[in-house]
């Protein structure tokens, strides 16, 4: 526990103009190899929190540290190149092939062609896409699931230690979503990543993450393991959030009990 956190927020606030702050003095640590899910409703500030990490947004107050360094003291572009990012709604470049999309950060980092090509093949395999079929396709020719697999491959292409994911699987059908979630969790473990995933789906968070932070109106209202959240004495909103998955689980159990 004495190991320094990979990502840490210290009293971070973010506000635009005079309105109520989007984030209000948030403090949160993410440890190495941890899979943290940030759960909250729309407008709770969860996406803002994520973007502060790779400086797509700068904080109004407080300090964000990545691997111990204050991100304000680091060049934003360099920082982003060493942090993977999976965008909400895929965010692939429509004029580039799958291979070019995946190899974009390595290319920006100046890798040579052979290195990039080999990396693309490895990554396609890692995200379970067919090398021959998908390599030279354009994003418009992919299904939603395939597109998000490419999105994941692009995020981890330059071998980052940290991956940020903004509602990565939100737009997918339940089966695909489940499969990709599982696959990502496997990658997270195999590659020793530190992952931060944003979601509004508590069930997804409970099933994938090591730890869940619940954010509401710019404040962290709960922070703990799935187990702790399921069983702990929580504030009203968190209890409500937990109620749905719990009810679903009970119904499923009831259904299987009744079976002959």
């Amino acid at each position: 526990m004495s190991v320094a956190p990979v990502i840490s927020f210290e009293n971070v606030s973010k506000s635009y103009g005079g309105a109520a702050p989007v984030l209000d003095r948030v403090s949160l640590d993410v440890r190495e190899r941890e899979f943290l899910a940030i759960v909250g409703p729309s407008g709770s500030g969860k996406t803002t929190l994520l973007r502060l990490v790779n400086r797509l947004i700068d904080p109004s107050a407080g300090t964000v540290r990545v691997e111990g360094q204050d991100v304000q003291s680091v060049d934003a572009v360099t920082l982003r190149r060493r942090i993977g990012y999976v965008f909400q709604g895929v965010g692939l470049f429509p004029h580039m092939t799958v291979a070019e999309n995946i190899a974009i950060t390595p290319k920006l980092l100046g890798w040579d062609e052979a290195q990039m090509s080999a990396r693309v093949d490895t990554l396609l395999e890692l995200v379970r896409l067919d090398r021959a079929r998908h390599r030279d396709r354009f994003p418009s020719q992919l299904s939603g699931g395939e597109g998000q697999r490419v999105g994941v491959a692009r995020a981890i292409a330059a071998e980052p230690k940290i991956v940020l994911m903004d509602e990565p699987f939100g737009a997918l059908d339940p089966l695909t979503r489940d499969a990709i979630g599982e696959d990502y969790r496997r990658l997270h473990d195999e590659l020793g990543l530190t992952s931060v995933m944003i979601t509004h789906d508590m069930l997804e968070a409970l099933l994938l993450a090591d730890r869940i932070a619940v954010i509401r109106a710019g404040r962290i209202v709960a922070d703990g393991t799935p187990h702790a959240l399921m069983n702990g004495d929580q504030d009203h909103y968190v209890r409500e959030l937990m109620a749905t998955p719990r009810r679903q689980a009970e119904r499923l159990r009831a259904l299987s009990d009744r079976a002959p």
């Binding site: 797509l56 572009v77 190149r81 965008f87 470049f93 429509p94 974009i104 950060t105 920006l108």
Partner: protein, 516 residues
């Protein structure tokens, strides 16, 4: 028909060369200015509105006017430059055309570049930053490629506009495919007019399609297509320019105003110079005020003007004097004020004259303008675009108290048949026009000398005043051409007789020599 087509084809290298040179330069310059400007304006809303507003205003100026405006502007600049640095530049032809067309090409490129870049989804731009691109890399690797189809559409529009508008650079002295159109209109050579329009259209379409090929090649990632398109454009440009560039530069430039008689006389001058072993080019179809300034500035070396024009437009005189006195005073004034040499009168007048069908005039008992005044309130008159605004018209009205039932402006070519067919009763025609005899019109006398004399005079630019070779080559033309001879030559050169200005000029020279 065939000979006209052959003549049109023979002129194609020179006209197309001029057209390509001016439109390619303008387009490249326009792109070089507009693209970076659009990129700068992208992140500055104030500048962006200003730019788009200014470009739109430019677009609303008729292209002909825009081209015409640049000539006096540059003339002033050139004079200033000459005075301050001792080096001037030519304000005629290429430079004003290029500048006006460049301005003209900017709006579509600016607007489409800005719209195209605006149209890139914010999510994609954020992804570009998220994967670690700098703003610049995002622009080059993501935003510009995604906006390319819209930007290319703007470039193609600009190309078509510029190639089309370049035909209008003829009146400010730039050789272009417009020479066919202007010459053709003035000499009723419809083959020329159609040929010019078709050539400009084919050229515009070819450029448009080659640009389209490059665009499709870019989006479909066919390098060869992009290459083929670029190669095609390069070949088109070089192919059109080589004949012009490889031609030796002529020593003398002769100007013409935009009508048949001027084309014939310029051809005559050119042939005289060639016979004496000198080389000359003709700057066709210059506007009336452009041509005098061009001579004064030495951009052309010689041209034929008319005494009445200089008298009223340049000397600002409103009194009317006999022919000989006007010529003498004018020669002295040109020499004194502008160091322009008046070599002499050619021997005929091309004055404004009221004309009507002979039979009609006899039936109404009209012989003079005074007779006409009594009848005019029931008659209609047609004149060219200039006439009713000119001092001559005011003088005629004042002197004779004439007022017509109706006055109409017409292209001079259509005036004569209009009066012959009875569409109008009287026209303000030109005394040396061949169609006066052709349509059996009678020119009404001007007993009170309201209309100043319009002797054709040969003018030489200040720096050629002491050019003995030029002067001796042109001397035989002085006082050598009578009005009947000129009318016949003009008639030959306008449309229905199938003779080119060059052929009419040769006929004229033969007649001149016969008379000797």
């Amino acid at each position: 028909m065939n000979s006209q087509l052959a003549e049109a084809l023979a002129r194609l290298p020179a006209y197309l060369g001029g057209h390509v040179a001016v439109s390619a330069t303008a387009l490249i310059l326009g792109l070089a200015i507009s693209l970076p400007l659009a990129l700068i304006a992208m992140r500055r809303p104030g500048l962006r509105n200003l730019l788009l507003g200014a470009a739109s205003v430019v677009q609303t100026i008729p292209s002909l006017a825009l081209l015409a405006l640049f000539y006096p502007l540059l003339l002033g600049l050139a004079a200033l430059c000459e005075r301050m640095f001792g080096v001037g530049f030519s304000a005629l032809g290429f430079l004003p055309s290029v500048l006006a067309l460049t301005l003209y090409s900017m709006l579509p490129v600016l607007r489409n570049t800005i719209t195209g870049l605006d149209g890139v989804e914010p999510a994609i731009k954020e992804a570009a930053l998220g994967v670690g691109m700098t703003q610049r890399q995002s622009l080059v690797m993501v935003e510009l490629p995604l906006a390319l189809p819209v930007i290319m559409a703007g470039i193609r529009t600009a190309a078509i506009w510029v190639i089309g508008a370049a035909t209008l650079s003829t009146p400010i002295g730039q050789t272009s495919l417009g020479n066919y159109i202007f010459t053709g209109l003035q000499t009723q050579n419809w083959v020329f007019v159609l040929f010019g329009c078709a050539a400009a259209a084919v050229f515009a379409l070819a450029v448009d399609q080659l640009l389209a090929l490059m665009e499709i090649g870019q989006t479909r990632r066919k390098r060869t297509w992009v290459g083929a398109g670029g190669l095609g454009l390069a070949l088109l440009t070089i192919g059109a320019l080589v004949p012009t560039l490889s031609q030796p530069r002529a020593t003398y430039a002769i100007g013409t105003k935009p009508f048949a008689e001027q084309y014939v006389l310029a051809s005559l001058i050119e042939q005289r110079l060639r016979d004496e072993g000198l080389s000359a080019t003709i700057r066709e179809g210059l506007g009336s005020s452009v041509i005098f300034n061009a001579l004064r500035a030495g951009e052309i070396d010689a041209y034929v003007d008319y005494s009445g024009t200089i008298w009223t437009n340049q000397m600002h005189r409103s009194d009317v004097k006999p022919r000989a006195e006007v010529l003498a005073e004018m020669a002295a004034w040109l020499e004194r004020e502008h160091r322009i040499k008046m070599l002499g009168g050619l021997g005929f007048e091309n004055a404004y004259a009221m004309a009507m069908p002979r039979a009609r005039a006899q039936a109404l008992g009209i012989r003079t303008l005074a007779d006409l005044a009594g009848r005019a309130q029931n008659l209609s008159i047609a004149g060219d675009y200039e006439f009713f605004g000119r001092p001559e018209w005011a003088a005629v009205r004042m002197t004779y108290g004439i007022s017509f039932r109706e006055q109409r402006q017409m292209q001079p070519e259509f005036m004569y048949s209009a009066v012959a067919n009875g569409n109008v009763d009287v026209i303000a025609g030109y005394t040396s026009d061949g169609r006066i005899a052709q349509f059996n019109l009678v020119v009404l006398d001007d007993p009170r000398h309201a209309i100043p004399p319009y002797d054709a005079v040969l003018l030489i630019s200040p720096q050629r005043v002491n050019d003995a070779a030029l002067v001796s080559a042109l001397q035989p033309l002085v006082d050598a051409i009578g009005v009947t001879m000129m009318r016949e030559a003009n008639l030959r050169a306008s449309g229905d007789r199938n003779a080119s200005p060059g052929e009419a000029a040769r006929w004229l020279w033969n007649e001149i020599q016969k008379k000797r």
